[in-house]
Point group: C2
Chain length 472, copies 2
């Protein structure tokens, strides 16, 4: 039976399991085909120099699994169902693409927007919070969690969001979610179930979120954003009764929804008996004044506040929350119960400890200082190196919206900048097709991850990318 | 302006923020109503003994948030939109019920099935794995993860599942999920999108999973389980093309799907061009022999293997996986991209380290010994104290299915046992209404969390609960 190729490692033990694995491999590789009769256990035991019981055990195992069929008078055969591999899986959708929302080469000057300074993640303090949590948790807390989130975290977050975001965030309204993404997708599902068929979204908006919105089954309509934020009159004309907005710091333009528009938006949502989804994605980072309190604090019965630690700590934690009207919060909890049974518990306790111990506030203060000086450095350098460009929006967040001189070739600038080692996002894809043609060429620059000196150099290279385009 | 009740803590700083918070509270409590005119900034500054700039900053903040409206010639007023709280939220669905799938009192003898021995969770080794992961991860790994799971974990799991479960688990087929629950709900969603309208489920089955199945929109049909596992002939007659099964250790009966039925099931899925969802929930725990390899290893193109660490480590980790045909794995990844952007990264790396370092295997070996002696102790004690009862199923898992003597009042036994401090599950709710009436009365006992001596005592109390019922 040398053709069976059953190599045994006698020092490793579990000989029956080794023999069974060898047979499975032989079937999968096609060396043994369906219907092939196997040697008797006695013969194989002699060939392999093992006891017969070992082979009998291996055969029984494979028979129980369906690889072999044993019939009285017919010996033991490879089961007719067993089939070899079809070779490597097909290429279409088979191998998931590499990680992250944007497969990208390494850029010396990475100004792609949307990610915080990950080198500042407080690793040691996070580990300490996780260790404290795991050492002090009663055993029973290691079972299935409350799908709405562990009460300790909901209580800490409720206090934090009331204090920092002026939210109406009692624990009964708070549901822990895997980032804003899950909070958003879950609400879209509930809106769909409620008979909504349209979702209004800002124009321009976070373009890489659009596939998720489309997957909800809702029709997405775009509503223009101007210097005061979303045009509520235009919103009213869409017929939508649900809207996704970024009032504290519009993405990508950086505009803050004006007091008048806030009032209009709230009147609108009451008039249409609708729902506002308020994405509070970087509201902790306002450098010129106190952050504007959230809309949810004004109209908690018709606004859902969605937030996360993705910009304040790290996206990898997948920790976020929804502050929703109580009935909606109950449905959200049920949604988690019916989809994933809730968020991992240890990280929830780690965040609760981090919030309660003041570590989160300290981290935010430090990051606010760091980001502010990076923003200022970049804005100043753009002033020098990109004459004619205009930085839009308020002093906040972790990105800048920079309008280029009229007639500039936006895509060309992005491509030339990339060749010079500077990764930036074009604004064009963030606009609806209808308005993209009218929008002034612009770039969206994430400045969170580079120190001041490198931001200045990046601005210089960007300036050259524009000049060379104009010259060529 | 004493009626404004704006208490200031002058040692705490941020006086403008304190004043703003005081006004928000006054509006919410109803003390200040819409339209109320506020004192001028000069007057309020004098009353509060702060500089005028502090009050101006507070008013500007509240105006930006929409709490106040300032009009030339009309002073500053509470905005017409601002409304007080409506009191505590309504009771219907408002306050999420307490945590866990089963709100329960503390029982001295907790034999509720479905949970492992959480006191054995290797806390220190898990923390060490998490710390190693966090200390060695490059910064870039703290960004948005691959929605399919981090490659390091998929590679470790692929090796583990091939070795221990005889699965066809290359990383391109593996998607990390938040437990079996998310793997299951995501597949049900995809099946629904593909036009499936029926899902076949075992009878009896894990009853607390049924609401999740119903929420998928698929119609659930039940297929009888006998001593060989699911009746595949009956399955074929349902017209379903998708089935959820527990072949390694049927829940709750403990039956292993026989070789003949495995072959029938695979023939069936090929015939109907369907899909088998294989819930491998406690397959690591087989005490009498090697675990039977998974069905997915035989027919990887039509079987999805769903597993997790909920029984092997702790449900609180919410770490699970799906091993699916490559095209399905690609869609599953897209599903995560459109719903929650993937699982938290640190715990994925911790599990990868735990698997790679051999800690997971060692933990499983230790738990297998512990559970086996608990199972044996309980089975022996049942033999003594429950004469006439029959323990069904193979020596595996963390629960026993115990048939009571004919005519026994199952619900009465459960209630009397509870009064004696013994928590057990009645089998009745796990059967379909059609078959529940014919099923012999039975209990499902989880033995994972009690030491042998207490299991023996629990069996004695259970015996009394049966005897007293018969006598009363």
């Amino acid at each position: 039976m040398t053709d069976l190729h059953l190599p045994l490692d006698r020092t490793a033990g579990r000989l029956a399991a080794q023999i069974a694995a060898g047979f499975r491999g032989a079937v999968r590789s096609g060396r043994l085909t369906a219907g092939t009769r196997l040697p008797s256990s006695r013969d194989l035991a002699r060939d392999l120099d093992v006891s017969r019981g070992v082979v009998v055990a291996a055969y029984e195992q494979l028979t129980a699994e369906g690889f072999l069929v044993a019939r009285r008078g017919d010996g033991t055969r490879i089961a007719p169902l067993a089939r070899p591999d079809e070779g490597p899986p097909p290429a279409d959708g088979a191998t998931p693409p590499p990680s992250g929302p944007r497969p990208e080469p390494e850029f010396p000057y990475d100004l792609w927007p949307g990610r915080p300074d990950l080198s500042a993640f407080p690793r040691e303090r996070w580990i300490a919070a996780a260790r404290t949590a795991l050492r002090t948790l009663p055993h029973d807390e290691l079972t299935y969690p409350d799908p709405a989130g562990v009460p300790a975290l909901r209580a800490e977050l409720a206090g934090y969001l009331a204090r920092v975001r002026a939210a109406r965030a009692d624990p009964a309204r708070l549901v822990i979610m895997n980032g804003v993404a899950q909070g958003l997708s879950a609400h879209l599902r509930l809106l769909h179930d409620d008979g909504h068929d349209v979702l209004a979204v800002e124009d321009p908006t976070h373009d890489r979120q659009l596939p998720m919105l489309a997957a909800s089954g809702l029709r997405v309509v775009r509503v223009p954003v101007d210097g005061e934020g979303m045009d509520v009159g235009a919103l009213a004309r869409t017929g939508a009764r649900a809207v996704l907005v970024t009032p504290a710091h519009q993405y990508p333009t950086g505009v803050v929804l004006s007091p008048a528009r806030r009032a209009e938006l709230i009147s609108w949502v009451r008039d249409v008996d609708g729902l506002i989804l308020e994405d509070d994605y970087d509201a902790e980072f306002r450098y010129d004044r106190e952050p504007v309190g959230c809309l949810q604090g004004i109209e908690p019965d018709r606004v859902v506040l969605l937030g996360s630690v993705s910009k304040s700590l790290a996206p990898a934690l997948r920790l976020g929350w929804a502050v929703a009207p109580p009935v909606m919060a109950g449905r959200l909890r049920e949604h988690r119960e019916n989809t994933d049974l809730g968020a991992p518990v240890l990280e929830q306790y780690a965040l609760a400890g981090f919030l309660g111990g003041g570590g989160y506030d300290r981290h935010l203060r430090a990051m606010r200082r760091r980001y502010r000086s990076r923003r200022d450095a970049l804005a100043e350098a753009l002033d020098v190196h990109l004459p004619g460009a205009v930085v839009r929006g308020v002093s906040a967040g972790i990105h800048l919206y920079v309008e280029l001189p009229e007639g500039c070739d936006e895509a060309g600038v992005v491509a030339r900048a990339a060749r010079a080692g500077v990764s930036v996002a074009a604004a064009h894809p963030m606009w609806s097709p209808a308005r993209a043609g009218h929008a002034r060429p612009a770039l969206v620059l994430g400045y969170a991850r580079l120190p001041e000196s490198r931001l200045v150099k990046a601005a210089e290279l960007l300036g050259q990318a524009i000049t060379h385009g104009a010259g060529g």
